[in-house]
């Protein structure tokens, strides 16, 4: 079986969990004898291609001739619909735009890239434009390569998936790692919602990373439940990550590590810290990360008068993250909405007892983390207090948690994905 897979990033150059998930999944699929052609907007060449063949969309000639472009747009009807969304992509306008652009840029393009688009592969200002161009390239790739099924990861690639489906007639599976509701709460970007919904509508199957996400796909995007399957993410940890680190303070440390934004629930962490500090002083709280609620969080901590025991580190990465885990006695992820959530697994792997919100997808697969409702500050405070004061609790969550995390394998997830491919292909034949 051969899969044409569209992603946005792939290790080592990643901005979030999406690239890591794509890596794990494709490795798992390779073991199942599923061949994956992985398309990404901008490959750097240092990606590990042992399990996948990577196609760099920036290297693909979008169309050799104007007629080809015409043909692609005749087939890919969705682009017409989005014309008011992104004006230059309407068929007529596009042709004009293309002509213009070609007139204007043809020479530079031909000199430097042939007739290729140069993608940034980032999540910048021209994201929408890149998404649409990526779809054009996808259509072209779909004509050049041979494959059985298409698999697109997250909304950035849904258009690419749809284009490939229209051109090739092969079934499309889309993979929802997050929805706009997870990113923005209720104040969603309607353009993104539009694209997400279109992807889900056009797909033959929708894979969600948790039942929580599956539920959002069904309720908020109105997708038929029988079309939506849950395949939980996994992790492939080689060994336990434990490092010795010298502590500067005698107190126990409770850590929040993540973006300081609405959906990560930083304010609940602060309120719980306040409650715990009323009862025991032998503890410090650390909020590691940055985000649009950073300033507000600092103000709130000051207002509660707990600044002497509550610390902000700013954004951490790489080694600092590992050191932060090594410092921690309790890790807390009070997310308001978390499609899956990999970082609790990293904490557990580092032998840190972990508290997660019931509103996270990872709560569906973890038994040995303590689960609380994100809004239930009392329960959160109580769980923190329990982990700090009842040694058997942290011993047991650490020991069993490590076993649990080590047992999660991408191989199992990949097998489920393969079964989904097969069910779609059987339906089609």
């Amino acid at each position: 079986m051969k899969v044409l897979m569209f992603g946005w990033e792939f290790p080592p150059h990643i901005a979030g969990g999406l690239g890591t998930a794509c890596d794990g999944l494709t490795r798992g699929l390779a073991k199942q004898n599923v061949e994956v052609l992985f398309v990404m907007p901008s490959a750097s060449g240092d990606e590990d291609q042992s399990a996948v063949r990577i196609i760099n969309a920036s290297d693909v000639v979008a169309f050799e001739k104007k007629e080809e472009a015409r043909q692609i747009f005749d087939n890919v009807h969705f682009l017409k619909v989005t014309s008011n969304l992104i004006p230059y992509l309407g068929p007529d306008e596009f042709e004009e735009a293309i002509d213009l652009e070609r007139e204007k840029e043809w020479n530079e393009f031909r000199i430097s890239f042939g007739n290729k688009f140069k993608f940034s592969g980032k999540y910048g200002k021209n994201l929408m434009e890149e998404v649409m161009r990526y779809a054009l390239v996808a259509a072209s790739i779909a004509r050049q390569y041979d494959f059985d099924i298409i698999h697109a990861h997250d909304w950035l690639t849904y258009m690419a998936g749809i284009a490939a489906k229209k051109i090739s007639g092969k079934p499309l599976v889309i993979h929802v790692h997050a929805t706009e509701f997870d990113r923005s709460g209720e104040n969603i970007n309607t353009q993104v919602y539009e694209l997400e919904k279109r992807g889900m509508d056009q797909a033959d199957r929708v894979i969600a990373v948790s039942n929580l996400t599956r539920d959002i796909v069904i309720r908020k995007y109105h997708i038929a439940p029988e079309k939506v399957m849950t395949v939980h993410n996994a992790v492939d940890f080689k060994t336990a990550e434990s490092r010795e680190i010298e502590r500067g303070v005698p107190e126990k440390i409770v850590t929040f590590l993540g973006r300081i934004t609405y959906q990560k629930g930083p304010e609940y962490f602060i309120e719980a810290a306040y409650k715990v500090l009323q009862k025991c002083k032998n503890v410090r709280f650390v909020m590691a990360g940055s985000g649009d609620m950073f300033n507000r969080s600092v103000r709130r901590v000051a207002k509660l008068g707990i600044s002497s025991h509550f610390h902000f580190t700013g954004f951490l990465q790489g080694e600092d993250v590992k050191n932060m885990f090594a410092y921690s006695d309790v890790y807390v992820m009070p997310s308001v909405s978390e499609p899956f959530g990999i970082s609790p697994l990293e904490a557990m792997r580092a032998n840190v007892p972990t508290i997660i919100s019931k509103q996270s997808g990872v709560a569906e697969v973890l038994n040995h983390a303590i689960k609380v409702d994100f809004w239930d500050v009392n329960a959160l405070a109580d769980a923190i207090f329990g982990l700090l004061n009842y040694p058997a609790l942290s011993r047991m969550t650490v020991r069993c948690g490590l076993e649990e995390v080590n047992a999660m394998k991408w191989d199992n997830a990949a097998l489920k994905v393969k079964n989904i491919y097969e069910s779609v292909l059987n339906e089609k034949s």
């Binding site: 409650k275 009862k279 303590i370 769980a383 329990g386 009842y390 609790l393 047991m396």
Partner: protein, 394 residues
């Protein structure tokens, strides 16, 4: 000699703890979820205790002394009946007056004290014996430990207390090729006779009765009496022991369990060679065939039939050890409210809620559990215990 069916039903309800946050420690020493305790006691009384007691009374009358049963009612359950369902307690008292019902002794708190503290164990048994005498006007001669927990040394303690009969599980790993359908004796003190639960015939009613995917569904009294007759063809006694709440609560009235129970004695007594006796009568009547060696504690719970449902993980052990550290000072305190709370915290159910085995198996655990996870159960219990510890005089 006639063959014997021995029926015993366990009646127990724990005092469920309220949500007790760490902010409450040292500030509020009321621990119980009155609403849940009251609601559950009323529900169980209405679905089970009242209607089934009624049914048993009519069967006793109908068979004129040939139908007998035994109960063990934990002290904690009696307290709650007094508090929330006095009519249920009254109907048990009425049953006690028929002369066809034996009441067994157990630990007052339905506790695990036999596993850690012989002194506490004996105190609690004595307390329960007094409670039974007070309410039901008879001094128990047969003993059943919490969840049928038994070992050679526990049996020895029970014999020392003057009991002549004890009930436990016919655990497969103890029995091996031996049949549970005979009378055995304690390996240390042969004066103590042992009645072993036939788990297959007990669970056919308690767990499988309403299960439609079970091959033998629907279970009729006739079919069941047939199985019993088969088992008693060679063997002496079949001991059918279960939670009383199996009738009407775990197996709902709509499943037909009441009709089954109503029809059962007739079907059994039809066999000329079978009689229905209480545990003490059965033990007096039959000859023990062998001592039973049980070096490690067994119980009637889970597949393992050991004590791992209550003390299998480190959370349970920590909570348990911390609790019994308070035994001496609580005893010396002469503070009746403190002693009452200490008793209620010893109930085995609190430890059952912390069991992590149910992650892999055990709808049964989930059914009985007011907590979402064992971790929540542990945190809540430890918060309560922390408060209790503060109340204990230093």
């Amino acid at each position: 000699m006639k063959k014997t069916l021995c029926l015993y039903f366990q009646v127990h309800q724990p005092y469920r703890l309220r949500q007790y946050r760490f902010f409450d420690i040292g500030k509020n020493s009321y621990y119980y979820d009155d609403f849940a305790n009251k609601t559950i006691m009323n529900r169980v009384a209405n679905r089970c205790y009242l209607p089934v007691n009624n049914l048993l009374a009519s069967l006793i009358k109908k068979y004129n002394g040939a139908f007998k049963v035994a109960f063990s009612i934990s002290g904690i359950a009696i307290e709650q009946m007094e508090q929330y369902a006095p009519a249920a307690l009254e109907s048990f008292k009425e049953l006690s007056r028929t002369g066809c019902v034996e009441f067994l002794a157990e630990t007052y708190s339905h506790s695990l004290s036999s596993l850690i503290s012989p002194r506490k164990f004996k105190d609690q048994v004595a307390m329960h014996v007094n409670t039974v005498e007070e309410h039901f006007g008879m001094k128990p001669t047969a003993f059943r430990n919490t969840e049928l927990i038994y070992s050679d040394t526990i049996g020895e303690m029970v014999a020392d207390m003057g009991f002549t009969t004890m009930l436990t599980e016919g655990a497969r790993h103890i029995m091996g090729w031996k049949s549970p359908n005979y009378l055995y004796v304690n390996a240390i003190n042969p004066k103590l006779k042992l009645l072993l639960r036939n788990f297959r015939l007990s669970d056919d009613i308690a767990f499988r009765f309403s299960n439609r995917s079970w091959g033998d569904w629907p279970l009729t009294a006739e079919k069941y009496a047939g199985w019993l007759a088969q088992a008693l063809e060679k063997d002496d006694i079949v001991n059918v022991f279960m939670d009383y709440e199996s009738f009407g609560e775990h197996q709902p009235a709509e499943s037909g369990i009441f009709d089954f129970l109503a029809a059962l004695p007739g079907m059994i007594l039809n066999h000329a060679n079978t009689e229905i006796l209480t545990p003490s009568e059965s033990a007096r009547k039959h000859q023990p065939i062998a001592p039973l060696h049980v070096p490690y504690a067994i119980s009637w719970a889970d597949e393992e039939r050991d004590v791992s449902a209550w003390l299998g993980n480190e959370l349970q052990q920590e909570a348990f050890n911390n609790l019994y550290k308070l035994e001496d000072p609580v005893r010396d305190s002469r503070d009746p409210v403190l002693q009452r709370d200490f008793r209620r915290l010893q109930t085995s159910d609190h430890f059952y809620y912390m069991c992590t085995k149910f992650f892999s198996d055990g709808d049964v655990h989930k059914y009985f559990n007011p907590y979402d996870t064992p971790y929540e159960a542990f945190i809540n219990y430890m918060n309560v215990l922390s408060d209790l510890t503060l109340r204990v005089p230093k």
